[in-house]
Symmetry: C2
Subunit: 205 residues, 2 copies
């Protein structure tokens, strides 16, 4: 499936549709409509139809969407038919939580390595992982051909670690540190700093 | 300052500008330009000028923005001149990480209570907090007049807990559970489910 120049805002909604479809499937549903899906995700039925139709004709007038089929198509579009290895850098509380997180199963990801630069943390066990020294990080990530990282280091070291990740070949970073990262084009970042997301809501309170 | 109908996408960028300005201030800077700020956050200078000008004339041609002044204005616009109390519901790994998170200091928030429904977790200490029983949650939140919550419960209980939070008067929810929440108008949600944010990037890999 080759589809070009789909706006990023549409791409951002696909994982939300997928998540809702997977929950419908778990509940035993076989088909859904853009209306039902829209009610679940808080997006209009028309918008959902328009978004999905960017990639092909996946629904049928009258019968709606076949859920397993649409799940497969979305997983293909989002390139999560495979399982991606992910590294966690920063073995503090948030790094611990991510390394032990059960929510990646069936969603395309698995944690492969955990790094920290703190001698007190290196060698510690977190779930199934031994925390490794960031000194060896670039080589380790490069050899394993891992291109996705989750960054849970303090803000003051986030850019330095990012530069190393980029050097190691990482192309996608989930950043929990409260700082905007300077990255070359071709590398993607998503920001999950909780305070920033809270501030986005207080405006409305 | 009364400003009406500013698009939500602009509101979403203000905390990002604020975060960058606070880091510039920490580094001792007094003034900045839309160009410098733009380089830091990866947004064009023109977009930044346009976004900020929605709220008034805060910059001066030639000299740019006074950083402490613009920080004050943004904190005022985002209503974080005050400190908001926040509850955490779900005392698992992610709830632990948030309850102990140091990054809320100076950013407008403080954790006030932590809840869970697991008898093994109720009464446990996390940092400065004793995990409380969700049975008493609605009353406790309502009495304390807390209107912001962070949700770190499993997906299967997220909607039920959300209904209770709404009943308690909560108006803003930071949701870590991998599920779209059904909420009444007037309540805001931000979604921080890590797998969904990773899937948004794999499309580009």
């Amino acid at each position: 499936m080759i589809v070009k120049n789909v706006p990023d805002i549409i791409i951002g909604r696909l994982p939300i549709y997928l998540r809702a479809l997977q929950r419908l499937a778990e509940a035993g549903a076989q088909t859904t409509s853009s209306q039902e899906l829209g009610d679940r995700v808080g997006i209009s039925a028309a918008q959902i139809r328009k978004d999905i139709s960017q990639f092909g004709e996946f629904g049928k007038q009258g019968t709606g969407y076949n859920i397993p089929f649409l799940i497969d198509k979305l997983r293909e579009i989002l390139k999560i038919v495979r399982i991606w290895d992910v590294v966690v850098v920063g073995a503090g509380d948030m790094g611990h939580a991510l390394a032990r997180y059960q929510g990646f199963v069936n969603r395309g990801f698995r944690i492969a390595m955990v790094f920290d630069n703190d001698p007190n943390k290196i060698g510690q066990k977190i779930g199934d992982f031994i925390v490794q020294d960031t000194t060896n990080m670039v080589d380790r990530i490069r050899s394993a051909k891992i291109i996705i990282a989750m960054l849970t280091v303090p803000a003051k070291s986030a850019q330095e670690v990012t530069d190393k990740l980029v050097k190691a070949g990482v192309k996608a970073i989930l950043n929990y540190a409260p700082i905007s990262l300077n990255i070359p084009s071709g590398v993607k970042v998503q920001y999950l700093d909780p305070a920033t997301h809270l501030q986005r809501m207080t405006y409305y309170l």
